[in-house]
């Protein structure tokens, strides 16, 4: 477990911004202030300010009195949070298990990853070098538990590598290093317990009785007696393959070639467990710390490396201008975010059947245009036309899309004709009817007048009365609809309806109104 602490995070952020904008400024001691309770206090201070004897938590007025020439900046918690997130993203190059330790630290689970860098020391050296280049002060510690690593980073010697001797090195540290709430620490200090060593061997039950269960839990976690789970920021992918480059790559062909190589490695792992990938993500780490994540979904569990390459070729083609390799990518990771069991025969380029061809077409189009744009109809168990017309992304697979049951129902019942094209939202029309509940004689839609020659109907469709009336969702609300199929003089055939019934009309409510809903071929 690696704990990274950026002790001057807020001030470093401001310095970096100013350096980037190359604002000429005198190097005054920099302090960040914010309101806590009713007082303006110092939240963060830089090195120069610390040397002047200032400290975080001091009142701003007092600091000003001591040193009139201070560079005072108000705090910006949101910018701090965003920067921490992007540093966390960037740390994904070391391990997929990264957690934010707000407000100014990160936790990395590097077990099993350090050897990729040649060992823990080398990993820490690499991390440190990059942080220094980026202009951050930092402290790093590695220990076998989160608690111990955190304590060492914040209060111990920096660059600690404790493996198994947590007890010895925790003992001299102050109790605050256990991540306890300040009131608990204060009350412990009041009874003379100052360091972790002071409580390590005390009888447990009196401690719990007096200071609460939290104290011993934190101690146990730091010592590894109790497991503390790390909550990674991103879901952990079941299959991951990655590759580091000594010479950064920038060309699209190289990226795709890497994808194929990584995919081949994933394919082996997927096959061993009988899985196929439903969602794959490519993470590209740029040399300057930025990273790109590109995800692609598939309609069927996929295992073939060439198919995966083809998917990402489509995705890259759509973002060609955005890929922006800068000075190149020095690492690539391909992760399967969602895997599903896949029978062997569904997989591979060689399959000759049309279903496979269709699936590949859907995957390619979805990768290029977006999964939401490639759709197919599903049979919905609803009599309300808008709901019955629902389409789903074609990549979504279902055991039963309802067509079997629908076709059975259809062959048994005579269904009223339905229009070829349905307007997504029924459009209000002005209509004149002979009798209130009858079909219209003529109507005006999109500024054109239509005289009706023949009409069929009504087909009465009850509104979804069990739902709240929602005028936003449908301009006709949940009122009962009487649908008519009409043909005008020139042969245009329409599907229109009257929302509401005249017999239900009560004073004060909206009178029935007419809507255009679709056109027949």
């Amino acid at each position: 477990m690696l704990s990274l602490w950026l002790p001057r995070f807020a001030t470093d952020r401001i310095r970096r911004l100013r350096d980037a904008a190359s604002v000429s400024h005198e190097h005054l001691p920099l302090v960040v202030t914010g309101k806590r309770g009713n007082a303006d206090i110092l939240i963060a201070i830089d090195e120069a300010a610390e040397q002047l004897g200032l400290s975080a938590g001091m009142a701003l007025a007092q600091a000003r009195a001591m040193h009139p020439t201070l560079d005072i900046v108000p705090e910006d918690a949101r910018a701090d949070g965003e920067l921490l997130e992007s540093i966390a993203d960037w740390c994904l190059r070391y391990t997929p298990l990264v957690a934010c330790d707000a407000p100014d630290g990160l936790l990395l689970d590097i077990s099993g990853c350090a050897h990729l860098y040649g060992g823990e020391h080398e990993l820490v050296a690499d991390l440190g070098r990059r942080l220094t280049e980026a202009g951050f002060a930092f402290r790093i510690a590695i220990a076998s538990t989160i608690g111990a690593a955190w304590a060492a980073a914040h209060d111990g010697r920096p660059d600690t590598y404790a493996n198994g001797d947590e007890r010895d090195f925790l003992a001299p540290l102050p109790l605050g290093a256990l991540r306890l709430p300040p009131p608990v620490v204060a009350s412990l200090v009041r009874v003379g317990l100052k360091t972790i060593g002071d409580i390590i061997d005390l009888p447990r039950s009196p401690l719990t009785a007096r200071f609460g269960a939290g104290l011993l839990r934190q101690l146990d976690r730091a010592l590894g007696r109790e497991h503390e789970p790390l909550t990674p920021r991103l879901p952990v992918a079941p299959y991951v393959a990655e590759k580091r480059f000594h010479e950064p790559i920038a060309r699209e062909e190289d990226v795709l070639g890497t994808v194929e190589k990584l995919a081949a490695r994933l394919a082996v792992a997927l096959e061993r467990r009988g899985d196929g990938a439903r969602r794959i993500e490519l993470t590209l780490f740029r040399t300057d710390g930025a990273l790109r994540r590109i995800a692609a979904g598939t309609a069927r569990p996929l295992r073939d490396a060439a198919d995966m390459r083809a998917l990402f070729a489509e995705r890259l083609a759509t973002l060609a201008d955005e890929l922006d390799p800068g000075f190149g990518f020095d690492m690539a990771r391909l992760s399967v975010l969602i895997a599903e069991p896949a029978p062997a025969e569904q997989i591979g380029m060689g399959s000759a059947d049309d279903t496979g061809e269709m699936v590949r077409l859907i995957d390619r189009l979805s990768a290029r245009l977006g999964a939401q744009r490639v759709r197919r109809a599903v049979a919905q168990d609803s009599h309300i036309p808008e709901i019955a017309a629902v389409t789903l992304p074609a990549q979504m697979t279902m055991k039963d899309d309802g067509w079997v049951a629908y076709n059975r129902h259809r062959s048994a019942v005579e269904l009223a004709p339905r229009p070829l094209r349905l307007l997504s939202r029924p459009e209000p029309i002005e209509a004149v009817a002979e009798v209130p509940d009858g079909p219209p004689l003529r109507f005006k839609w999109r500024r054109a007048l239509h005289d009706i020659v023949a009409a069929e109907g009504p087909e009465r469709i009850e509104g979804a009365w069990w739902q709240e009336e929602n005028v936003e969702a449908s301009p006709s609300g949940n009122r009962t609809r009487d649908y008519f199929r009409v043909e005008d003089k020139s042969g245009h055939r329409f599907w229109l309806f009257r929302a509401g019934l005249y017999r239900d009309l009560v004073p004060g409510t909206a009178p029935p109104s007419w809507f255009m809903h679709g056109m027949f071929g």
Partner: protein, 247 residues
Amino acid sequence: MRDALRQQLIYLQKPASLAEELAALPLGVSAVDNALGGGLLCGAMHEITAASEAHLPAATGFTLGLAALANGNKHLVWIAEDMALTESGVPYSAGYEAFGLPPERFIIVAVAHRHELMTAMEEALRCRAVGAVLGEVRNGSLDAVAVRRLSLAASDSGTLAFLLRAKPSHDASTAATRWTVQTAPSVIPGQREFGGPRFAVHLTRNRRGPSASWILEWRNPDDRFVLATHAEPLAAPLRHRPYQKVA
């Protein structure tokens, strides 16, 4: 080297629609099939234009009827721009079923730009599992090169390609046929009963025969076109045009 280039040139010059080996899809109406030289050419692009925007549903119906004749058990891919779907309505599964197209074999693709429409059509045309591709263009002109690529893609795979246009246009096209479709009254004058969907179709461009006009009716249970009987024929008589010879 030069020979290879020449070969390539011949290949590029060959009008896709005139290739000998391509199959024809009979409409089942002898008058139409004769004019088309046996039927609608598979592996070619056909342009179907609504006489005006109001006639777009009819043009849609006619196109879907043609696609249904071809479909077999393959898929139909309908690609349209977002604007077209918002303005003219989305394909409704219960509706196109009446044209004999099973909804489960129907893929609808919405695209944001014209060039995406073209590339998606080309991609779909090259897929073996697809029987017909329908691209809907609301207005504006088409990139001639992209249209040509579509024709070539269609002839390579033998898939039917339809360009459905909401307004007539006069841009040059490599389409094998171009149709202008109007809706025709299905109701017999004096009666108040609906017949099947009727289309007044004008074959305005035909690479393998004369141009002509008919009124066709789609018969639902047997899923085929018939010549409309009770309606008056359109005023325009058959106009013969000599077969176009391509050097």
